[in-house]
Amino acid sequence: MRRAQLMMQLEQVGPSGYALAVSLLGNTDDAADALQDAVATVLRVRSYDPAQGTFKAWFLAVVRNRCLDVLRQRKRRPQADMESAEIETEPSEGPEALATRDEMTAIVKRELAALRRPHREILILREFLELGYTEIAEVLGIPPGTVMSRLHRARSALADRVKSYG
């Protein structure tokens, strides 16, 4: 792929990559670093093959792999990263603040951030980034048939958490 074409494609998929990184890593600083590494890798390697799927899915898979590396590093040194490993769930937001905003959206935001990583990422890919099942399978490296069942479990888990608010 020619460099100009590659940069144009990156311009289009950049925000999606950033949103995925924020949702996986839980804070914007780590997400920015991960995205920067992913973009640098893409510019250096340029190994995208259109036969394997869309550019967006391929790029998101690169971003996700970089995020998983960061998460693995966090596990190896938990003390240093204890603070940054916290998911940004607006802890200062009390019941009154929730009531003044769109309550449902605020609850969903909080509970989405608290979900297990496989559930959170598949919901972000589907609902937030609006990827089809084939693209989700490409990003996560799982069979397309698994996408529907995992998405179902993720939605059920989120629904159960939201229900607990009554």
Partner: protein
């Protein structure tokens, strides 16, 4: 949850996302006509889907623009890498060519050639020593990932 509901429940995500085959879709449609429980479950999923999608609109405008800065940094970093590669490659080429010409030259006396050779060798040994030290430190330094 009876067997029919359990079977349809697994298909509700695909139904909502319009990813089912026509046969499965018809099966879910048929079941939903007579099952209030599964219809409520579908509404619940739909509502959650809308709420998660709404988070996109709530994204901080600063965050929306932040990715652009990130991309620019990555482009700059790649360009810097290419620049360093060119610089180091050219310097090594010139130094190598200079050394080669110097060795073949008949103008300088042999002791000058030996002395200059020793300078080259000394520099190479120093460089290798520093590289070895850095490599060893990077493997054992527990603060290597701490950003200042």
């Amino acid at each position: 949850m009876d067997e029919a509901c359990a079977k349809v429940d697994e298909l509700l995500s695909g139904y909502l996302d319009r990813e089912l085959t026509q046969k499965d879709r018809q099966q879910v449609d048929l079941h939903l006509e007579s099952c209030a429980r599964c219809t409520a479950r579908l509404r619940e999923f739909d509502s959650l889907s809308t709420s998660v999608g709404r988070l996109r609109d709530e994204m901080d405008p600063e965050d929306r623009e932040r990715w652009r800065k990130v991309m620019d940094n990555a482009f700059d970093r790649t360009l810097r890498g290419i620049g360093w590669l060119l610089l180091v490659g050219a310097v090594l080429l010139l130094v190598g060519y200079g050394g080669y010409e110097f060795i073949l030259s008949d103008v300088e006396p042999p002791f000058v050639k030996w002395a200059v050779g020793a300078v080259y060798l000394g520099l190479a040994v120093q460089l290798l020593s520093v590289l070895r030290q850095r490599l060893s430190a990077s493997k054992t330094d527990k603060y290597k990932d701490v950003e200042i």
